[in-house]
Symmetry: C2
Subunit: 498 residues, 2 copies
């Protein structure tokens, strides 16, 4: 092996180990840590971030990347080696613009803000969270100042989650969607209360067992995975062989099954990255939208489909005889696919979900521009929410405090959820054209062929290519809202017409 | 603040954060990690160790320590600042003798060996573990070669756990004990089988609840502590406010209650370190023997005492009515204090426990000297065990594989267990002379005054002073086997005479 390449790889492996340690420590903080451990954990996360950042922006890394250009050019574009050099160069040029201290401050502020947010949400107390949000926004503005050459400041934060994508491009996709969603929701939506059986009872242990049974058919295996409890479900990993999913249970709510499928989709992506990329910066899903395409595919395109429930509904009835014993499958299927404006993004239906994202996307741009202040934010939220959803939001817990993302300064993340919805159907259509009997297999409880197709065509690639290159390789073209719009119209239109 | 002191403190805080991250990652590996995560976790632990070690042995740290001599001399010996400089200088002079790569190799080897040991123990398969033990010994020999000026090679490994103590001193304490233990065990020991009620049934959930109830009276608080399951119980911590205890349960064995008290003793020590020492290298118990003095005090001196059971036995009977409902307290008290040679160190009684340690102490010296090879080790173990205990060891699971320590190259640790026993009674006698009504308080379920006395006089000091200085401050003199021998003779003699 080219010795300078070996040196680069060693340096990157060390940095990756520190980043993974951060990920495990964050998981531990959220899932396992005794409550009083927060401040010291915050300091630990800050330190690890400072170390990883400093090691990465070291000029020696830049020199190696420069010296390795001929080696890179001697290799195929698709080789792991050329991809590692190419992707690392892009990461390095971006990272060296951010001072180590600022990067560490952002991590420390996020760790501190997390517990404050969790309490504030619990108590619907925006005021106690606001100072932390102020700090997150101020740090994000300082972060944006580290860059130049962008069209809009929002491009910078977006690039952290969807490298190479611009605000203009996102706006085009979301605008196309918004124009179609309005009429669709007006046509198929309902303001009637949920069917009574949807509030249970769903005993929590049975939810846990059923969730595991479903995701085990998707590819969850306790040799490689865990499933634990948190306030805000997420997926984390220490490597391809150690995947941590989290979920939450409420006795009057069956949505935990969809949460488990969602997080399992994230986990399967990380678990499926080629083992040859382990302990390299390529050992992750390529972008937030591509990641979300997988969580949303397993949750919605698979998990809210008729063939899926043709297999699973009898088992679900056995698991929850009191709530569902007398409920026929079609009634349940309609209930979980019902379009109805509601307060909580993660509990919302496939169609109105995107309105939540559009609201966040607009507010994030306004907050960063200063056209909405953090003092007025809860009121602006409520007004805008009523305008988009036609219902009024009762409190901040159900409103602006519902999501964890802003506590860690995660601006730019929300739009990738809807981009993920869009991409999920592009990928699904491609998988279906390669494997036309996927729905027949779902009916038999067989999800392995879809999992294997995704592993081969998407997961194994990790971060070897850009998100755009990756999508091009998987579906043969760029992001396109039309398949998703078609999917929603067909599925929801059929339900409304029936 | 002296700016160079601030710089030193910042550097040490960063290193301490990395060390604590290692501790959490090790805890996670042992308690939470999916089985397949081992290899990558090993690499992560190796990397963190390499980073912490390299940052610590940096010549800049040595320069700061040198430049800070006048500042140190201007401060009181007992001040946190002078203690930090003094202790760090000793740590630094020791650490810089060990090459970063060797230190990292030792951590990596330990992480790899851990799972192999756990499987080998399960299957009583010494052969599969031997290559890892060979490597651990070879690394330990290379480690010893980094030092000079010692009387015996074993001094070097001992110093890692009991800084400043020599093999000669340990041998003197263990020899004095061995001479007294032989006759005592002959007098009070019994070869009869255990009383039948000692094999339960003890439903596991009730064991867990009862363990928590006991240690909550000692000072365990879920705000700061966790209690989880492992093969080999241990205590770890991420800081003074985040303490992780582990234990194990068997339906036919009530010893988990003593395990919980034991690990809680370790945890209370770490939790009680002065918060002013947080994120410094002084934020730990001072040595293995002092640490063990606390686990053994809470487990044995408190937890196997009559006053303790006068309070707790009725609750224990309610928790385990089937096994203990008809058993009077005195019979239970005698059963848990019965002296009887047995195979497993951690399950053994207070007196024969020390024979296990003496066996390990002798074997460790012989292994390092090469006078016992790792090929013959299991047979030597069995022969020696029969000689000391008068019973023959059935297999390696019950013999040489029973303990985790050697898998991580932890030679030098075992003797500190018995030193801890010795010190525990020295400290107990001092606490009792300050607070003569401790036993009356135990009868009422009050353990707060003892906890508070220990926090004030021992725990809060952390690593500010050497183990010898610390013991001197707590009990007014050096290590002395006589109080412990007196304690054993009085307690066990009374039981045998009755």
């Amino acid at each position: 092996m080219e010795p300078r390449f070996a040196e680069l790889k060693n340096r990157l492996a060390e940095i990756h180990d520190v980043r993974r340690a951060q990920e495990v420590l964050f998981w531990d903080q959220t899932v396992m840590m005794p409550p009083a451990g927060g401040p010291v954990r915050g300091a630990q996360l800050t330190t690890l971030d400072r170390i990883a950042h400093a090691k990465f922006v070291d000029p020696a890394v830049g020199r190696l990347l420069e010296e390795l250009r001929p080696y890179e050019e001697s290799l195929g574009f698709d080789s792991d080696e050329a991809s590692l050099i190419r992707t690392t160069r892009r990461d390095w040029e971006k990272a060296r613009r951010v001072p180590t201290e600022l990067a560490a401050e952002m991590v420390g502020a996020a760790a501190e803000a997390h517990d404050v947010w969790a309490r504030a949400r619990e108590e619907s107390d925006y005021a106690s969270f606001r100072p932390h949000l102020e700090r997150a926004v101020e740090l994000k503005r300082r972060y944006i100042e580290c860059f130049d050459g962008y069209d809009e400041p929002y491009d910078v934060v977006l690039d952290d989650y969807e490298p190479g994508m611009t605000t203009v491009e996102v706006r085009a996709v979301l605008d196309e969607l918004k124009a179609e969603l309005g009429p669709l929701i007006a046509e198929v939506g309902s303001a009637e209360p949920d069917e009574e059986f949807m509030s249970g009872p769903f005993p929590i242990d049975a939810q846990h067992q059923f969730s595991l049974r479903v995701i085990e058919r998707f590819g969850y295996d306790p040799q490689f995975f865990r499933l634990d409890l948190t306030v805000h479900p997420f997926a984390a990993s220490s490597g391809t062989q150690d995947i941590r999913l989290t979920t939450r249970y409420e006795e009057d709510d069956i949505s935990s099954i969809f949460t488990a499928m969602h997080e399992c989709g994230h986990g399967l992506y990380e678990h499926g990255v080629s083992e040859a990329l382990e302990r390299t910066p390529l050992c992750h899903g390529v972008s937030s939208a591509l990641h979300e395409s997988q969580s949303r595919m397993w949750e919605n395109v698979v998990g809210r489909s008729r063939p899926f429930w043709n297999y699973f509904y009898p088992q679900l009835q056995s698991a929850f005889p009191e709530a569902l014993g007398d409920i026929e499958q079609e009634r349940f299927y309609r209930a979980i696919n019902r379009v109805k404006p509601s307060y909580i993004r993660v509990d919302s239906d496939e169609a109105t979900y995107n309105l939540h994202i559009i609201l966040r996307f607009e507010l994030e741009q306004e907050i960063l521009a200063g056209t909405v202040t953090l003092q007025e934010l809860p009121e602006v939220w409520k007004a805008r929410f009523e305008e988009y959803f036609g219902i009024s939001c009762p409190d901040d817990r159900m409103g602006v405090l519902q999501d964890v993302h802003w506590s860690s300064g995660g601006f730019g993340y929300f739009p990738t959820y809807t981009l993920g919805n869009v991409v999920s159907v592009q990928i699904w259509e491609k998988a279906l054209s390669d494997l036309p009997d996927l729905h027949d297999q779902f009916e038999l409880g067989e999800f392995g062929p879809l999992h294997e197709w995704l592993r081969t065509n998407l997961y194994s690639l990790g971060r070897k290519f850009t998100p755009q290159e990756t999508l091009e390789r998987v579906v043969g073209g760029p992001i396109d809202a039309k398949p998703y719009i078609r999917y929603l119209k067909e599925k929801l239109g059929a339900l409304a017409a029936a």
